[in-house]
């Protein structure tokens, strides 16, 4: 609002320091009605957009409470016999509790990938930001090329190489590739430039701390919000990954929940009684992610803005 100082004096009343929302209606008599109309219009379109985004998820919630008969027989947003609990029991007891095993696998792959992969990326991004060395431009160029190559384009080559060295169908086949995330390195460099002032590191160095020690006791704590953002994005990316585990794993005990659900979906074609299990399993598998997104809003906002603007 300080800009009003430069505005022509005759119109300066338009921004006399009041909050922007309150300045509009004062100018002309017709203004309040038009503002009311556009308020309804603008918010109305947003409500429609929000409904489009939320209703399919809501449908899943309602569908998870129904047995096969009610799925076909009752309205989409009404309850039938409320079979949620028996559906959940069916899901977790099927195949000696294989669903829980898939969930645990997903948590393990995504957790390890997020924390260790995140740390590796933060270290690299920090080095690109804080250190000067020969070949820095070329190495960072390689990182950027890595950002631009689609993940799925390297999945089959990874499988072919993995098969040649006998690593397919092991946990390593799905963990090692996801530890390497060039986009996280790019984000980490942006965060490091923003969060860690060079002077602090210089002070730590004068105090006699080694570069590694400085990183872990000074740099990393300052980068903590950036680390959480990067780890969150990696967690979600790995949890959502489908093609890599589908290609790499044959042993269903190693499946993450995404591949498991697609396996059950295949069963449901000849056996319709699997349909409520696919729906309830899908519902259970998105709960951790939706909760994480709602609780960690601050961090995904930070990641999306750092990734695009800077």
């Amino acid at each position: 609002m300080t800009a009003t100082l430069n505005a022509r004096p005759a119109r300066a009343e338009a921004g006399s320091g009041a909050p922007a929302a309150a300045t509009g209606p004062a100018r002309r008599g017709r203004r309040p009605q038009r503002a009311l109309g556009s308020t309804i219009g603008v918010n109305g379109i947003l409500v429609l957009g929000a409904a489009y985004m939320v209703l399919p998820i809501l449908w899943l919630v309602f569908a998870a409470t129904k047995d096969t008969k009610d799925l076909y027989g009752t309205g989409a947003f009404s309850f039938g016999d409320f079979s949620l609990w028996s559906n959940i029991v069916d899901v977790v007891t099927e195949g000696d509790g294989i669903f829980l095993r898939w969930m645990a696998n997903s948590v393990m792959y995504a957790g390890v990938g997020a924390i260790i992969g995140g740390l590796i990326s933060v270290m690299a991004g920090y080095a690109f930001d804080k250190f000067e060395f020969r070949g820095k431009g070329a190495l960072f160029g390689a990182v950027l090329v890595g950002v631009l190559i689609p993940n799925t384009a390297t999945v089959l080559p990874l499988y072919l190489l993995g098969a040649a060295v006998g690593l397919t169908n092991t946990v390593w086949a799905v963990i090692i590739p996801v530890l390497c995330n060039p986009f996280s390195v790019y984000l980490a460099r942006v965060f490091s430039a923003g969060y860690v002032p060079d002077e602090t590191l210089e002070a730590a160095r004068v105090d006699g701390a080694s570069p590694l020690r400085t990183f872990f006791s000074v740099g990393l704590p300052m980068l903590a919000p950036g680390f959480v953002t990067i780890a969150l994005f990696q967690f979600v990316g790995i949890w959502n990954n489908f093609m890599l585990p589908l290609v790499m794993l044959q042993n269903r005990d190693l499946f993450p929940v995404s591949v498991g659900m697609s396996l059950w979906q295949g069963y449901a074609v000849p056996q319709p009684e699997f349909t409520p299990m696919v729906i309830t399993g899908s519902f259970l598998s998105i709960i951790p992610l939706v909760v994480a997104f709602i609780l960690l809003q601050r961090f995904w906002r930070a990641g999306l803005s750092a990734g695009s603007i800077k």
Binding site: M53, L139, T154, L289
Partner: protein
């Protein structure tokens, strides 16, 4: 891509840093070795191996005994892949898909971002969260949800339309591509809304204030001031959308179990998967993957060039 760092002029701090011991190459190596070892193992080595593999093929020896042997065939696999009708057809579908998906998704994202930024909008944070929520749903689950929402008998959409006298088979040969576009729009619009909205927040408020004082309506300043100012963010979202489109695999793979309209070689990625696991032709699968990676690189390069040109104009 707007990469701020590579072209940033060296600041005084950076110049001073260069003289400080312990910030040079040897120290940097400790921090960079973990990432770049993984980079070599997980990105470079597989691609190099796949290129190598794609230059060979299994051939029967001339007299028919001794089984198959591996012989060097040069670019023959690439020619075979590129002349395969199903592979090229997959690209045709991807192209049609892009024509529908990119304008709809980015257009919606821009509209929602501008609306969120409008002064009269209430409950901005809640709307952002609702719009973003589908992105928290994994692609597999999103495809499963919509597959059911397209299935007659279960779907409330199909039954509502039928009650209104409209019969649409979302999973028919002609409708399945728009149906997949809808799934992708649902998954990605909110994500891009947040990126564009964050960019809008960075638009200097005094410019907008000046426009308002000069009598520009909010709609006018949204279209002629805000939108041009966030073109860099728009081009980043366009770049990542184009890269993402080439990756298409999950949604059609899931829908292929719900409808026969989606074949096992429906898009290039599925073609490559099918080559590796159903046709057992690993060299062709390798060649197809390399073609996809090259094309992605080429497209990214083109989009980056175009958008940086647009900005300097």
């Amino acid at each position: 891509m707007t990469i701020r760092h590579s072209d940033r002029p060296p600041t005084a701090a950076a110049a001073a840093r260069r003289r400080i011991p312990g910030t040079g190459g040897r120290t940097a190596a400790i921090f960079l070795v973990p990432f770049f070892s993984l980079f070599v193992v997980a990105m470079i080595a597989p691609v190099v191996y796949a290129i190598g593999l794609s230059l060979f093929a299994q051939k029967r020896s001339g007299l028919g005994f001794g089984g198959a042997e591996t012989v060097f065939v040069g670019l023959e696999n690439y020619l075979n892949v590129l002349s395969s009708e199903t592979f090229v057809g997959g690209f045709g579908r991807l192209f049609l898909y892009c024509l529908m998906y990119i304008p709809i998704m980015l257009g919606l994202a821009l509209v929602f971002a501008l609306l969120l930024d409008a002064i009269v909008t209430k409950a901005k944070r809640a709307f952002q969260l609702f719009l973003f929520l589908p992105h928290a749903v994994p692609g597999v689950i999103a495809a499963l949800i919509w597959a059911y929402l397209y299935t007659p008998g279960i779907s409330p959409i199909v039954s509502t339309l039928a009650a209104g006298g409209i019969q649409i088979d979302f999973l028919s040969v002609h409708m399945v591509l728009p149906s997949i576009v809808n799934i992708a729009v649902w998954e990605w619009t909110g994500y891009n809304v947040i990126i564009l909205f964050t960019a809008l927040q960075a638009v200097p408020r005094d410019i907008l204030e000046a426009a308002r004082v000069d009598g520009a309506s909010e709609l006018r300043s949204a279209l002629s001031i805000k939108t041009p100012l966030i073109l860099p963010a728009l081009s980043v979202t366009l770049l990542f959308t184009v890269i993402g489109t080439l990756q298409m695999f999950t949604e059609p793979q899931i829908l292929s179990k719900a409808t026969t309209a989606v074949t096992s070689t429906w898009v290039p990625n599925m073609w490559a998967y099918d080559a590796a696991f159903n046709r057992n032709n690993l060299p062709q699968a390798a060649a197809a993957s390399i073609i996809l990676a090259l094309l992605a690189g080429l497209l990214s390069w083109a989009v980056t060039r175009l958008s940086s040109k647009g900005r300097t104009r």
